[in-house]
Amino acid sequence: MANDYKETIEKVKSNLIEDISKCSTVKELELLDIKYLGRQGEVNKLFKSLPIKENPLIGKEINELKNICSKLISEMITHLLNQPSQDSFDVTIPGNRLPAGSLHLISQAISDIETIFDKLGFTRRRYREVESDWYYAEGLNIPKDHPARDDQETFYLSDDVVLTAHTSNGQLREMERVKTPPIKMINIGKTYRRQADASHNAVFHQFEGLLVDKNINITNLIGVMDYFVKAYFGQDRTIRLRPHHFQFTEPSFEIDISCGLCHGTGILNEKPCKVCKSGWLELGGAGMVHPTVLKNGGLDPKIYSGFAFGWGVERVLMMKSGLNLPDLRLLYTDDLRFLKQF
C-alpha cells in the first residue's frame, strides 16, 4: 500500500509518454497539456485521489510529476517547431495586386516647388484665374494697345475679363492683401494660353514668386533663384542672368540654368549637346518689381523694392532630368496607363 501511489503516479507519466508519441502537431500537444496539466487535468486529479495528507511525500512527488509532464510536452513542441516545413510554398510568387494610386506629376511638382520656397519663408497663395484687365495687364504697366498684349495669346471672356496667361495678377492682389510689407509669396495657379503644340498646352500652371521689403536688391533675386535651382534640379546646377524686357519689372532678366547633360559646356562627347543651346537652358523671366506696379499695389516705391518671377510648373518638370517626356501635352492625358506610372 505504501508504494501504490508510486505506481499510480508512474502510470500517469507512462500514459503521457504514450500520448506524446502519437502526437504529430503542436495543436495535439497543446491539447495534451490541458489533458494532463489543466485545472481538471490528470495530474491535478492525483491530488484528490491520493492521500496526500497522510504522506507528505506524495504531494512532493506529484509536483515533480507536474514538472516532468510540462517539460516533456514543451520539449516535444520545440522539437516539432524545429522540423523543416512540410507544406510546399513558392516564395517567388508575386504579391496580390492592390489598387495602385498615383499623385499627378503636376501635383508632385507643385508640392516640390512649394516645399522649397516654404523653406525660404515664402507662403503659398492662389489667386484668380478669371481676372479683370486691371490686375491682369493695365495695373501691371501693360497699357491697352501694347504689343505685349497679343504676345500673351490670351483667352478673353469679354473685352475686360480674361483667363489669365500668367500668375502676375497675384502680385497686385497680394500687395493689396498684405498692405504693409514684408511680402513673401509663392503664387501657384492655373494659367491659359491660346496655343497648343508639343511644348504648349492651352492649360498650364505657373508659380509666381514675389518678395517686397525695404532694401531688396538684385543679389537677393539671384540668391533665391540659385537656391531654388539647386534644390529642385540638383546641387551641380548653376544659373545665369541675361538682360530682358518685361513691362512689370525693371530691370528684367531671363534666367538660364546650366544644362544637366553637358554641365554648361555645350559639348557632350566632343559633339555639340543636343539638349541645350550652348550649355544653357532657358528657365523663365524675373526682375525687380517696376515702381509703377508697386504704386498700383498701394506701396511706396521710394520705401520698398522687390523682385518677382513667374515660371512654368510644367516647364521645370519637363526640364528635370530623367523624366523623358517627349510631349508636354502628355501631362494632360487621362490615360491611366500613363498616370499609374508615377
Partner: protein, 661 residues
C-alpha cells in the same frame, strides 16, 4: 524678334580684336542674346534675339554700339566707327522740288524724309553686298533694291524706293486708308484695306505704298528704271502692328516700325543711301531733301542717384563706372553732386529709357550680372500658417493617392456637347469669346462631366475597377463681372457604392470631419440618379453628393459600367475640419457586441441615428445586412466606468426595440 547679321557687317561699325565666338558669348550675358553663331565661308553669321524694347539693336550699328560699351567694361579693346549719327548731313537745299508730299495726319507719320535721284544705272550689286544679303536670308535683286535692304540690316531703319517716272509725284498724299480700298503689293497679292492702314496715294489717285509693310506694285522699280524717289519714314507703331497682323505680312520693316525706331535716324540713313546710290548706281541727286519735321525734339534728361542705384543692385559700383558705362552707350552725363548724375538720353533710346530704374538696368547689365553675388534676403516676417483650403487640398490628394486613387488633370474648358450630354445648362457657363476650338469653349461648372469622359476614355484600355479623382476649380457666373472660382473634388469608382462610401468616410475621418449624414434628397446636380444618390450633410452644410449617374447619360457618353460618383465642395470640407484631434479615452472594460435585427420602413441612416441616440453606452453601430424591411446591425456597447451587465444591455436593447414598433 530675331535678326541675322554677319560678322563683317558688325565689324563695319565695331573695331575690336575680339573673336566672333567670344564676342557672341560676352554680349549675350550683357546685351542682346546672340542665340546662335554659324561659320560661313569667310565670315560668321549671328542670329540675334532683339529684346522687345530695344529696337535700336535690331541692326549692325546698334549691336556694335552696345558691344563697345560691354567690351570696354570688361577691359577688351573696342571702338565704334562709322557712327551714322556723326556723319555730316547734306540737305541739297539748292536743288528744286521734284515731288510733293502731303501728310494729312502728323500723328501717324512722326517723321518722313525723302529725296529724288536721277540717271541711275540698274545692275547687279557688288559681291560683298550679295553675300551679306544671302547670308541674312534675303535674295539679292539688283543694286538699287539691294541698297535699301542692306541699309535696313546695317542701320535698323527701313527705306523704300519708287520708280519716279511711274508715279504721279506732284501730289503724293500720306493718309489712313478707307474701308474697301485695295492695294496690290510687291509680292503680287491684292490686299483689302480697312480703316487705319497707312497708305500713299499718288496724283493719279492710285495707292502706291502700303506704308511700313510693303511697297505697291504700281511704282515698282525694274531694270529699266532711271529716276527714283527714295523715302526714309517712321510710322506710328500701333497702325503698322494692326495692319501687319491683320494681313499676315510680318515683314522686317513692319517688325521694326511697330517697335518705334528713332526718328532722328531718318536723315543719317538717307545720307548713307544717297552715298551708296552715287557709288553703285552712278545716281545724281535731283531734288532737295524733304523732311516732314526738321526740328529736333529736346532730349530727355533723368537724374540718377547712384547710391540708391547701388542699393537696388546690391553692389557698390563707383560713380565713375556709372559715368563710363552710360557714356559708352551714348548718354551724355553731367555730374551733379558726389552721388547724383544727370543723364541725357540719346535719341535712339528715347522710348525705352524713362525712369531711374531703366538707367540701373543699363549700368547693371553692362557691369555684368555675373559679377553680382548670390545673397539670400533677410526678411523679418512672422511665420504664416498654410492657407487652410490649400492645406486641405494637399491632404485630400495625399490621402486618395495613397489609398489607390489616380489623380487626373483635365482641362478647365469643356465643349458645349459635353455640357448638354450631362444635362447641364449652357447658359450657366462662362464662354470664351476667342476660343481655339469648340472643344475648349466653356469654363466648366462641375468636374463630373470630365470625369465621366475619363472613364469612357479608359474603358478597354486599363483593367477595371477604376479609382480616379480630380481636384480643381470650377467657375460659376457671378453677378459682378468676374467668376466665382470654387475648389471641388470629384471621385469616380467602378466598384460597389458602399465600398466607395467607405473610402469617402475614411477620407473624412482622416481630415477630422465627423457628424455628417447621408440624406436622400431630390435636389441634385442634373447628372445624378436621384434614387441612388445621397447628399452628404454636416449640420446645415452640404458637403457633397454621392451616387450613381443617370443611365441615359452613361449611355450618351458611352460608359458601359455603372460608376459611383462623389462630388465634394473642398472649401466646405476645409471649413468643417476641426483643427485639433482630440483623444477619446479607451475603456479598461471589455466591449460587448450584440447583433440586432430591426424591422422598420425608415431609412437605415435614420435607424442608426436613432439607435446611437438611445444611450451613451452605445459606442458604435455597424450595419450588417437588410432583407426587405428587416435590417441587421451590430451594436457595440462600452462603458468607461465598469463592466456592463447583461441586464443593462438588455434594458438598452429593449429601449431600442421600442423605438421601432
Amino acid at each position: 524678334m530675331d535678326i541675322k547679321i554677319t560678322d563683317k557687317a558688325l565689324r563695319f561699325f565695331l573695331d575690336s580684336p575680339i573673336k566672333p565666338v567670344d564676342l557672341a558669348q560676352t554680349i549675350s550675358l550683357c546685351g542682346p542674346t546672340f542665340d546662335r553663331l554659324h561659320q560661313l565661308d569667310d565670315d560668321y553669321l549671328y542670329e540675334i534675339e532683339v529684346i522687345t524694347n530695344r529696337i535700336d539693336t535690331a541692326s549692325a550699328q546698334g549691336v556694335a554700339r552696345d558691344s563697345v560699351a560691354i567690351l570696354k567694361q570688361q577691359g577688351i579693346k573696342a571702338e565704334l566707327k562709322n557712327d551714322p549719327y556723326q556723319e555730316k548731313i547734306e540737305l541739297y537745299t539748292h536743288l528744286p522740288h521734284t515731288f510733293h508730299f502731303d501728310i494729312a495726319d502728323q500723328e501717324i507719320v512722326p517723321r518722313f524724309t525723302a529725296i529724288s535721284l536721277e540717271n541711275i544705272e540698274v545692275k547687279d550689286s557688288p559681291k560683298s553686298t550679295q553675300d551679306l544679303l544671302t547670308a541674312c536670308g534675303e535674295r539679292p535683286i539688283n543694286n538699287i533694291v539691294d541698297i535699301t535692304n542692306e541699309l535696313t540690316l546695317l542701320y535698323g531703319m527701313p527705306c523704300h524706293i519708287f520708280d519716279l517716272d511711274k508715279l504721279g509725284a506732284q501730289k503724293l498724299i500720306i493718309r489712313q486708308s478707307r474701308s474697301g480700298e485695295k492695294i496690290t503689293t510687291l509680292d503680287g497679292q491684292t490686299n483689302d484695306l480697312k480703316e487705319g492702314d497707312i497708305v500713299i496715294e499718288d496724283g493719279a489717285g492710285r495707292l502706291v505704298d502700303l506704308c511700313g509693310i510693303m511697297g505697291g506694285s504700281v511704282a515698282e522699280t525694274d531694270k529699266h528704271t532711271k529716276n527714283i524717289l527714295l523715302i526714309v519714314p517712321v510710322y506710328h507703331p500701333v497702325n503698322i502692328r494692326k495692319t501687319s497682323l491683320r494681313l499676315q505680312k510680318r515683314t522686317l520693316a513692319s517688325q521694326i516700325y511697330e517697335k518705334q525706331p528713332d526718328t532722328e535716324l531718318c536723315l543719317p540713313v538717307l545720307t548713307q543711301a544717297i552715298k551708296l546710290f552715287q557709288e553703285r548706281a552712278k545716281a545724281h541727286v535731283s531734288s532737295s531733301v524733304f523732311d516732314s519735321s526738321p526740328s529736333i525734339a529736346p532730349a530727355k534728361t533723368i537724374e540718377l542717384d547712384t547710391e540708391w542705384a547701388n542699393r537696388l543692385i546690391g553692389q557698390n559700383i563707383p560713380v565713375d563706372n556709372y559715368v563710363s558705362i552710360l557714356k559708352n552707350l551714348g548718354f551724355s552725363i553731367k555730374n551733379k553732386s558726389s552721388q547724383g548724375i544727370l543723364c541725357t538720353v540719346p535719341s535712339w533710346r528715347k522710348y525705352d529709357i524713362n525712369i531711374q530704374e531703366d538707367l540701373v538696368e543699363e549700368v547693371a547689365r553692362v557691369y555684368g550680372y555675373s559679377k553680382l553675388p548670390s545673397v539670400l534676403p533677410q526678411v523679418n516676417l512672422a511665420p504664416e500658417p498654410k492657407e487652410p483650403l490649400l492645406k486641405t487640398e494637399t491632404d485630400i490628394k495625399t490621402f486618395l493617392s495613397h489609398r489607390g486613387f489616380n489623380e487626373i488633370f483635365n482641362h478647365s474648358l469643356v465643349s458645349e456637347s459635353l455640357i448638354s450630354k450631362t444635362e447641364l445648362d449652357k447658359n450657366d457657363h462662362l464662354k470664351l469669346i476667342n476660343a481655339l476650338s469648340t472643344d475648349l469653349q466653356f469654363l466648366r461648372t462641375s468636374l463630373v462631366p470630365s470625369l465621366l469622359q475619363n472613364i469612357k476614355n479608359n474603358q478597354g484600355k486599363s483593367e477595371e475597377p477604376f479609382f480616379i479623382y480630380e481636384l480643381s476649380n470650377v467657375y460659376q457666373k457671378n453677378s459682378d463681372k468676374l467668376a466665382n472660382e470654387l475648389s471641388k473634388l470629384a471621385i469616380a469608382t467602378t466598384v460597389d457604392i458602399l465600398d466607395t462610401k467607405g473610402y469617402v468616410e475614411l477620407l473624412l475621418k482622416n481630415l477630422n470631419v465627423t457628424k455628417y449624414r447621408y440624406i436622400s434628397v431630390t435636389d441634385l446636380p442634373p447628372y445624378f440618379l436621384p434614387e441612388h444618390t445621397s447628399v452628404i450633410k454636416h449640420q446645415g452644410h452640404t458637403l457633397g453628393f454621392l451616387g450613381h449617374i443617370k443611365p441615359s447619360i452613361l449611355r450618351e457618353i458611352g460608359i458601359t459600367s455603372n460608376p459611383v460618383i462623389v462630388e465634394i465642395d473642398t472649401q466646405t470640407l476645409s471649413d468643417l475640419r476641426s483643427p485639433n484631434k482630440i483623444y477619446t479615452p479607451i475603456s479598461e472594460f471589455p466591449e460587448l457586441l450584440e447583433d440586432m435585427t430591426i424591422e422598420s420602413t425608415e431609412k437605415v441612416g435614420e435607424i442608426i441615428a436613432k439607435i446611437t441616440s438611445v444611450s451613451h453606452l452605445v459606442k458604435d453601430v455597424q450595419y450588417l445586412t437588410s432583407y426587405q424591411n428587416k435590417h441587421s446591425f451590430r451594436i457595440i456597447f462600452s462603458s468607461l466606468l465598469n463592466n456592463l451587465s447583461q441586464k443593462e444591455i438588455a434594458g438598452i436593447k429593449e429601449e431600442i426595440s421600442s423605438l421601432f414598433v
